[in-house]
């Protein structure tokens, strides 16, 4: 621990954000909070996203920001980071009133932000992306080599495992997130905003991140953490602020006696229990079977190797694994979007490898994709059109010759209600919704109807606790309907709550398929690629 602290303060001095003076000051009693946001108001087309919100961040503390999807958390932080200008209200940094007009202003005030939706340029490399945000020591020329070495160094130090020369588009969501975190650490900041940083990390990775955050906090940095995972908030936050419908509904210190229920009630206004029904279903005949499947990724590297498993009707197979171990490619293959280099896949007795994506849909393979903004939504279309995107040729929404506006609208309204999608109306453009609400649209669309095979990639990532409960119950309903379900998730809680069997993927190989009784620690080890010598109990 002590060593890590030294390392970190060295990083600090190097980038000049924790000079010796600052460290001394951090030791003193500081009266002035790092950030004070007073009566912040921001409306989007007449609807308030933040309504007279007060927010205070103290030096050397981790401040949790909680609230349902669409409560206004991201909006508030975007204001602090200069991405939006508030309609009214004041921002004070270390007691000084400031006007933050742009992220550049924010960065000059030593504010760093890791965004909910990655702010990475896909066609550039990791190194180039990081260089974008910092001043080159050799201006106007790039100091690629130096930055690259630093990245390797930092990435090794914090176990981020990032290849500095990889292009961003080649990385999985989880890896991209780690690049974002690295960027923030790299730049150094007094105030660090993290918008749902752990949504894509495994429990182990989150722990690693948290120990970094704790060290940063101990050196006097203030951290704002938006998260829907209340355990995390309880584990790391010193205090929390809770928003609901754009209004601040509570602020409290986190003490050892604070409970999840308390926070949930402040957020949702009711208890969320995760009491699921329909877990016990008769498991039917084999629906999907994979035999020695192999594939390469966009870079030509082997991503899947001899993957074999099967799923029966009414069964949920959890696929646990750290992002970037081949899950993305596997899902693409199962939906007809990627070619394989070997092996077979059968859907009942049909050969799935010869199917086009459209045929996959016609054969009732439903898919909730990993990167929802890119492959799940048309951001410039309105909510109702996105909701019917897949069933555009279904009878239920057509008139005699053309689509029936009225039926589309009615169906959309039902879905909006069922999934509690927070939107001004069904005609709102999707890109204007909050992150969690965009996800709900895909979920509503993909869970509608009755699939033979449902592939759910991280179905509740980014959802608030109420929505999470609802979606998990819907997955179980589909199971009760006899669907075979492949649940890809990095969230072990989810995997354990829902799965009948758990397959663990690591480096493109199935490390083992075990029953949930095997316990978290066993799965955790398999996820990290550690295979025990004793019999793993494979039952593929």
């Amino acid at each position: 621990m002590y060593l890590l602290w030294i390392e970190l303060s060295r990083v600090g001095t190097m980038f000049n954000f924790m000079t010796e003076k600052a460290i001394k000051e951090a030791g003193k009693v500081i009266e002035k909070p790092l950030v004070q946001m007073i009566q912040i108001k921001k409306t989007f087309s007449g609807i308030p996203a933040n309504d007279c919100v007060d927010f205070t961040l103290k030096e050397g503390s981790v401040h949790g920001l909680l609230g349902e999807n669409g409560a206004g958390k991201t909006t508030l932080m975007n204001i602090l980071f200069g991405l939006y200008e508030p309609d009214s209200g004041k921002v004070l940094i270390k007691g000084e009133p400031v006007k933050i007009h742009s992220p550049l202003d924010a960065m000059n005030l030593k504010i760093g932000m890791v965004h909910q939706h990655f702010m990475l340029v896909k066609t550039l490399t990791v190194t180039e992306n990081i260089m974008l945000g910092i001043k080159s020591t050799r201006t106007p020329f790039l100091d690629t080599r130096m930055i690259r070495n630093r990245i390797i160094e930092l990435s090794g130090k914090y176990g981020l495992d990032i290849d500095p020369d990889a292009k961003i588009w080649q990385l999985s969501v989880g890896q991209q997130q780690r690049v974002e975190i690295l960027t923030a650490i790299f730049k150094g900041a007094d105030i660090l905003i993290l918008d749902e940083p752990t949504a894509v990390l495994t429990p182990g990775e989150s722990e690693d991140l948290f120990s970094i955050l704790r060290e940063l906090r101990n050196s006097g940095i203030g951290i704002i953490l938006i998260s829907h995972k209340l355990e995390e908030i309880l584990a790391i936050a010193d205090e929390v602020t809770i928003l609901r419908n754009g209004v601040k509904t509570g602020e409290t210190l986190v003490t050892p006696s604070t409970t999840k229920q308390e926070l949930t009630r402040m957020m949702v206004g009711r208890d969320v229990l995760f009491n699921f029904t329909g877990k016990d279903v008769n498991i039917g005949k084999e629906c999907l079977s994979l035999d020695h499947l192999c594939a390469i990724d966009d870079r030509g590297v082997q991503v899947l190797q001899d993957v074999s498993f099967s799923i029966k009707d009414g069964e949920i197979l959890g696929l646990a694994g750290v992002d970037g171990n081949g899950q993305k490619e596997l899902c693409q293959i199962l939906t007809g979007l990627r070619k394989t280099t070997g092996g077979t896949i059968h859907l009942y007795d049909q050969d799935l490898l010869t199917m086009t994506p459209k045929q996959c849909i016609d054969n009732k393979i439903f898919h909730i994709p990993e990167d929802r903004q890119k492959s799940g939504l048309i951001m410039d279309w309105d909510v109702q059109k996105n909701l019917i995107l897949k069933n555009y040729d279904s009878k239920s929404i057509s008139g005699r010759f053309c689509l029936s506006e009225q039926r589309i609208g009615e169906q959309a309204d039902t879905m909006i209600q069922e999934y509690n999608i927070k939107t001004p109306g069904r005609e709102e453009v999707v890109k204007k919704l909050s992150g969690g609400n965009q996800q709900k649209i895909i979920l509503a669309r993909e869970m509608e109807g009755d699939p033979e095979l449902l592939i759910a990639s991280h179905p509740t990532r980014g959802l608030d606790i109420g929505a999470m409960e609802y979606v998990r119950q819907r997955i179980l309903d589909q199971k009760a309907n006899g669907a075979a379900i492949l649940l890809v998730s990095a969230d072990l809680e989810e995997i354990f709550q829902l799965s009948d069997r758990i397959a663990v993927i690591y480096n493109g190989r199935i490390m083992g398929i075990v029953s949930p009784d095997a316990g978290i620690s066993k799965i955790g080890m398999l996820m990290a690629g550690i295979m025990e010598t004793e019999n793993v109990g494979v039952d593929a």
């Binding site: 992220p103 340029v121 066609t123 974008l132 106007p140 790039l142």
Partner: protein, 313 residues
């Protein structure tokens, strides 16, 4: 054709190819910056003709060719700012804004020319940039006339190929340009001023185009004529796409189009038995064919032709 004549024909074809590819290459290099930053400027044609006129006027009245070059570059810059204003500040449709700029440039140049020089029987002329001979290197048979017997602007343009590549790949500015064209929101979140970078890129594109225009009037033709740009601005835009925003590839693409042009002229002058309308159309047909073949495969910058505003998600 006798052997000697054949060699002469080839030499003049190749030397001509290099020379006539320059007024395509220069604006294309400039548009690489502009397009990389996410802006399609179809006004290049108009900027070039303004550059051609300003270069000629500057050189004609001061007697200094270099002052002509300077005026053309400045005029190109200023004129392109109209495009910047329309596409960045006003966020107008870029295709419409660019087309309007071309129409404006073409008519403005022709109007100003008549205001400045009046109606004359013989057009005013100047002595354009002389050919260099590199201490006699130009006398080397075959190689000499092809490579070492051009004027200084040709070599300047070739240097700019390297320069443009260097700026885009090795400088912080180049990196910012690419980020702004691909994902302006991310660039913005890193403190890069998207609008400013785009303005600069449009302006650089204008300067290169102005220089390209001046090459026509004071580096190639000795005079100014209303139709002297003859679609080269548009060809430059397609060269940029064809070359996938890479300066080195742009050089080869420009040579290809230049070659088609020269071949067409030389074939006409030696009187081959093809109707000259077909020959005249050759470079343009080539442009269309190449674009049809290539454009399916190229990956445009993600934010190409999309205005950026911070408040819209």
């Amino acid at each position: 054709m006798s052997n000697n004549l054949y060699i002469d024909f080839m030499i003049s074809l190749l030397a001509g190819t290099i020379r006539i590819s320059i007024p395509i290459l220069l604006p294309a290099l400039g548009q690489i910056y502009t397009q990389r930053s996410g802006i399609l400027n179809l006004g290049v044609e108009g900027i070039m003709i303004i550059g051609a006129l300003s270069g000629f006027v500057g050189a004609f009245f001061t007697g200094s060719l270099w002052f002509g070059v300077f005026s053309a570059v400045v005029a190109g810059l200023l004129f392109s700012l109209i495009m910047g204003f329309l596409s960045i500040t006003i966020k107008a449709n870029q295709v419409i804004a660019g087309t309007a700029l071309t129409i404006l440039g073409t008519s403005l140049a022709s109007f100003l020319y008549r205001v400045i020089f009046g109606i004359r029987k013989l057009p005013p002329i100047i002595d354009s940039f002389p050919s260099l001979n590199f201490l006699g290197l130009s006398k080397i048979p075959v190689i000499g006339p092809i490579f070492f017997n051009h004027n200084i602007l040709v070599y300047l343009a070739l240097f700019l190929v390297f320069f443009t590549w260097f700026v885009l790949e090795k400088t912080t500015f180049g990196l910012k340009v690419k980020a702004v064209g691909e994902f302006p929101r991310a660039a913005d979140s890193k403190g890069i001023r998207v609008g400013l970078i785009r303005y600069i890129c449009v302006a650089i594109g204008g300067m290169y185009a102005g220089l390209g225009g001046a090459f026509m009037s004071i580096g190639y033709m000795d005079t100014y004529m209303d139709h002297m740009i003859a679609g080269r601005g548009f060809i430059a835009v397609s060269v940029v796409i064809f070359s996938r925003w890479d300066p080195k590839r742009a050089l080869f693409a420009a040579l290809l189009f230049g070659g088609a042009n020269v071949l067409q002229m030389r074939l006409q002058s030696i009187g081959v038995n093809i109707p000259n309308q077909f020959l005249l159309a050759l470079p343009y047909v080539l442009t269309i064919l190449v674009l049809v073949g290539v454009s399916k495969k190229v990956a445009f910058p993600s934010a190409f032709t999309i205005p950026y505003s911070r408040n819209s998600k």
